[in-house]
Amino acid sequence: MKKTHIFILVGIAVLIVALIIFGFPSSDFSTYDTINSAKSKQGKYVHLIARLDHSQPIVYDPVKDPNYLTFSIVDSLGAQTKVIYHNSKPAELEQSERVVLQGKMQGDVFECQNITLKCPSKYKDDKKQMEKSVSEAK
């Protein structure tokens, strides 16, 4: 084996080890949780996949505080929690079908750091819109 090959192999090995240590420590991933399992992991960073709870109000008053939004979510197991998000209200929050929230459970409140909305796909939206446009036409 050539000297350079050894050099390169050692280099690659060092790099891979470095990548594993610096690139993939356990804090570099988080988990998808249900609301109940998140409640049992107080203060731990998790992802929640849930729906907006339409029976609870969405509170956002930008005149008072543009960095304060609260609403409630329910997950597929029926668990429910209040969410606080220190940012502006994402467009189309009310229309969303599903929300992916990132943050930490603090007591009974989910302190959210990021929201990803899953809106109904365009395809399904079209149907509604079509039917609506028909009823308007008549």
């Binding site: 050539k2 000297k3 350079t4 050099f7 390169i8 280099g11 690659i12 790099l15 891979i16 990548l19 610096f22 690139g23 804090s27 570099d28 991933f29 988080s30 988990t31 998808y32 960073y45 998790v46 992802h47 996949i49 956002y60 930008p62 005149v63 008072k64 505080d65 543009p66 960095n67 304060y68 220190h86 940012n87 502006s88 209200k89 467009a91 189309e92 009310e94 992916v100 990132q102 750091q113 990803t116 899953k118 796909s121 365009k122 395809y123 399904k124 939206d125 079209d126 149907k127 819109q129 079509m130 039917e131 446009s133 028909v134 036409a137």
Partner: protein, 838 residues
């Protein structure tokens, strides 16, 4: 049932040509395959001619399909699902092309159009020395890819499974709605859904074609690597592949950064790069192509690293297919903000087809490579550490490892889907990339700096040290000066990461200086051969710009800076409160500007509103206006486009995150009438009002009346709670003896209406004051300052020009053509990144 008003002919034509394209690519593939294995020269010739005919046919078919889709969309034939979904009458015509490549089918079509053009180019130049003898194997690969792309838009049912989704399906067959039971259903469909408002942007028109040309062009080095094995001309293909790899590097690189510029300019992500899986998916093929380019250059110069060249040429295209799989199947939809999503029915089929597409190219290519591994020549000579090829190879390996790292992280959703694991992205996904890539940037910067000062085969120690000394010193001085004069302020991740950023800054400054110095002192300004150095210098400048722009990005709408709305419960170091509400006409301090929101105006498109922000510098030396805009639907903000003030050295960047609801709520407050003489004062809940003067056709800063008008104008000063003084000019216009018109004045800052209510018998003025309880007129916005962001775009343009220079040199293009190409590339890029757009 007969339906009225449908235009079924274009769809029939389109569908026919889709089938034709599919069959013709199949024929071309077979023809070229037979030609490439044919030993007899005459046979080979006739098979090539036959396959060419088939390829021309598929090219024509693809162009006709494109034309038909264009026709359907531009004529708003909403009986077709594609037009209904992507086009709309209200859409400005410049977005017509954009709505074609908004959809899956259209973007696949764009890809096949580029493949066709690349194929035609190869056929047309097959007699040139560089391409001589490569046509048959290369074109068999391209035709085979065309077969799969045509299959993606085939839309034919086989055993009740729809293979591919056709762009020519009818709306009434795709949507189940009661109106389709009526023959005249088309008269109810007034308009299409149109281009997603998020995508209505200059970059949506220009970015996809460039990016897809980049993707499409990676097939050529792949096909040449295959051809090398197939023809057993194991090393010959490299010199042909280099110019194509350079082309790919240039176009794909520019395409990726166009995406970045788009995100920066209009997608309100607050930056140009977020390590989003979709962005990563386009970056990885580029990185692998760059790695391959370097190993190919090494091979050309020294006969070393041919095997690595094979691997990288294959993998670059494989990663293009893999990224297509990632972005088109919706597998990323939980982790990416802009992945395509699909409905369940098409999902499974698309999934299987894309996996098949990926597999039929990846598996045979890798199998062929490993089967012939021992036959691929390699040099059994020690590469010394004093040679250029050694350091170039190390660089290529580092780039490749970085791309493997990015792929691994991006593929977590795939891993979850396969194993049922539930691994989610980390708390700060961007940082989890940045902390690794900042070190990669440093290493690559260092290698780029010193690489060229080594010579191939052997470098004299004295020569190297003599030449590298000055640029090293210069880079050290410049970096030190930067650290002192203009330090990075990014402290969110602690001192360790800041240190790493400084190291990377040194690496990139060093690379920029060393490459510039190399052109000057060693190449003596011979630009013909300086392409590599120019490209490296450009890349380094881009890195410097990235480090400074992210290291010193400032949130200027931060509530802690403006002193407004501070809740006390928060750890404010971690998350700046970036949203700031600006009430109309109330000035707010931001950085060294007073900023006032002065109202909105409507755009041409449905739901588009422009909001005016006036920036006045504290010392009044500067005043400018920004108009970030939003799309509003159903009383809600749908999407937001930033307003940016560009300076040479910084950008001030604003976008709207929330607007006041425009509810037609009944204003229950009533006017309180006071009777005042000139100079009298009336009080209201927050302050008082002084009547200054009254006059006929009083010309004021607000109004200018014609002499034939009869207006009675009052000038009123309103002094609010915070002693802010505002002028108001309510007036009465006497139209004729029957009609008078009261025109109230609105003071948004005090949320107050002032009315000239009439004149009493005692010559007093009746002044009405209403304190509205309607919701205030306001916007909520975020504002950032990006310093030296222009270095990023400048670096990119220089890099692209450098790569084109190399391509001209390697492909031995004639000087006149070369000048035209260079001028065109330079001007076009400069225009796109510095003049057009936002």
């Amino acid at each position: 049932m007969e339906f009225e008003g449908e235009h079924l002919l274009p769809g029939t034509i389109g569908h026919f040509f889709v089938l034709l394209a599919f069959v013709a690519s199949l024929v071309a593939t077979i023809g070229y395959c037979i030609a490439s294995v044919s030993k007899n020269e005459a046979d080979k010739r006739s098979w090539i001619n036959f396959a060419r005919l088939a390829f021309y046919t598929q090219t024509t078919a693809v162009l006709v399909i494109f034309g038909v889709i264009f026709y359907i969309c531009s004529h708003h034939l909403f009986e077709y699902m594609y037009a209904y979904k992507h086009a709309a009458k209200e859409l400005e015509s410049r977005y017509l092309l954009a709505c074609i490549w908004e959809g899956q089918e259209g973007s696949f079509l764009l890809w096949t159009v580029w493949h066709s053009i690349i194929g035609l180019f190869i056929i047309a130049n097959s007699k040139k020395p560089l391409l001589n003898g490569w046509e048959a194997p290369v074109m068999s690969v391209i035709s085979f890819a065309q077969l799969f792309l045509a299959m993606m838009i085939l839309g034919v049912y086989i055993f009740n499974i729809r293979i591919g989704s056709s762009p020519f399906t009818l709306t009434r067959n795709e949507i189940a709605a009661p109106i389709f039971s009526q023959p005249n259903y088309l008269s109810f469909i007034k308009d299409g859904v149109g281009l997603n408002v998020l995508l209505r942007n200059y970059w949506m028109v220009i970015h996809p074609p460039v990016l897809f040309l980049g993707f499409a062009s990676t097939i050529v080095p792949f096909a040449l690597a295959y051809a090398g094995i197939q023809t057993k001309r194991f090393g010959d293909w490299v010199k042909t592949a280099i110019p194509f790899a350079l082309f790919s590097t240039c176009v794909l690189g520019v395409g990726i950064m166009m995406g970045g510029k788009w995100a920066y300019e209009s997608l309100s992500f607050g930056g140009y790069w977020a390590w989003d899986p979709v962005e990563n998916a386009s970056l990885v093929p580029w990185l692998v192509m760059v790695a391959g380019l370097h190993t190919m250059v090494i091979y050309k110069a020294t006969d070393q690293s041919l095997r690595a060249s094979y691997l990288f040429a294959i993998l670059s295209f494989v990663f293009v297919l893999y990224s297509t799989f990632l972005t088109r199947t919706g597998i990323l939809s939980d982790t990416s903000v802009h992945a395509f999503t699909l409905d369940d029915e098409t999902k499974i089929v698309t999934y299987s087809m894309l996996i098949l597409f990926l597999a039929v190219f990846t598996v045979p290519a890798l199998v062929l490579f490993f089967m012939n591994y021992s036959k691929i020549p390699s040099v059994n000579k020690e590469e010394g550490t004093d040679t250029r090829e050694f350091w170039m190879f190390i660089g290529a390996v580092i780039i490749f490892i970085a791309s493997v790292f990015i792929t691994a992280k991006t593929s977590v959703p795939v891993f979850n889907a396969v194993t049922g694991a539930k691994i989610a992205p980390p708390e700060d996904p961007e940082f989890s990339y940045n902390k690794v890539m900042v070190l990669v940037a440093f290493i690559i910067g260092m290698l780029t700096a010193i690489g060229q000062y080594f010579k191939y085969q052997k470098t004299e120690r004295g020569y190297f040290l003599r030449k590298i000394g000055l640029p090293t010193l210069l880079a050290a001085v410049i970096t030190t000066t930067l650290v002192i004069v203009y330090p990075l302020t990014y402290n969110k991740q602690g001192a360790g990461f800041l240190g790493a950023m400084y190291i990377a800054l040194f690496g990139s400054v060093y690379a920029a200086i060393a490459n510039g110095w190399y052109i000057w002192s060693i190449l003596k300004g011979k630009f013909k051969v300086a392409g590599g150095s120019v490209a490296h210098a450009g890349f380094a400048i881009m890195l410097v710009g990235m480090l400074i722009a992210s290291g010193n990005k400032k949130t200027i709408s931060d509530n802690r800076v403006t002193g407004l709305n501070i809740p006390f419960t928060r750890d404010s170091k971690e998350n700046p409160l970036e949203n700031l509400t600006m009430i109309r006409d109330v000035p707010t301090r931001m950085l060294d500007y007073m900023v006032t929101y002065t109202g909105d105006s409507l755009g041409n498109e449905k739901g588009r509103e422009f909001h005016r922000l006036i920036f006045v510098k504290n010392d009044s030396s500067e005043r400018f206006e920004l108009t970030p805009d939003v799309y509003v639907g159903k009383n809600e903000l749908k999407s937001s486009n930033p307003g940016t003030k560009r300076y040479l050295t910084k950008d001030i960047y604003t976008y709207i995150s929330s607007i006041s609801p425009d509810e037609n709520k009944e204003d229950t407050a009533a006017f309180k009438i006071s009777e005042l003489s000139i100079g009298d004062t009336a009080f209201y809940s927050k302050g008082y009002v002084v009547l200054n003067r009254v006059g006929r056709n009083l010309n004021t800063e607000r109004y200018h009346f014609n002499p034939d008008e009869a207006a009675l104008v009052a000038e009123v000063t309103v002094v609010g709670k915070d002693s802010m003084r505002h002028k108001a000019y309510p007036y009465i216009m006497i139209e004729d003896s029957q009609h008078i018109n009261q025109v109230d004045d609105t003071l948004y800052a005090e949320n107050m209406y002032v009315r000239f209510a009439g004149v009493t018998d005692g010559k007093k003025i009746k002044l009405g004051i209403k304190e509205s309880n309607k919701i205030l007129n306001y916007i909520t916005l975020k504002a950032y300052l990006f310093p030296y962001i222009n270095l990023v775009w400048l670096g990119l343009v220089i890099m692209a020009v450098g790569v084109v220079m190399s391509m001209i040199y390697r492909a031995k293009i004639k000087p006149t053509t070369a000048t035209i190409v260079l001028a065109f590339v330079g001007i076009a890029l400069f225009y796109m990144f510095f003049i057009a757009g936002g």
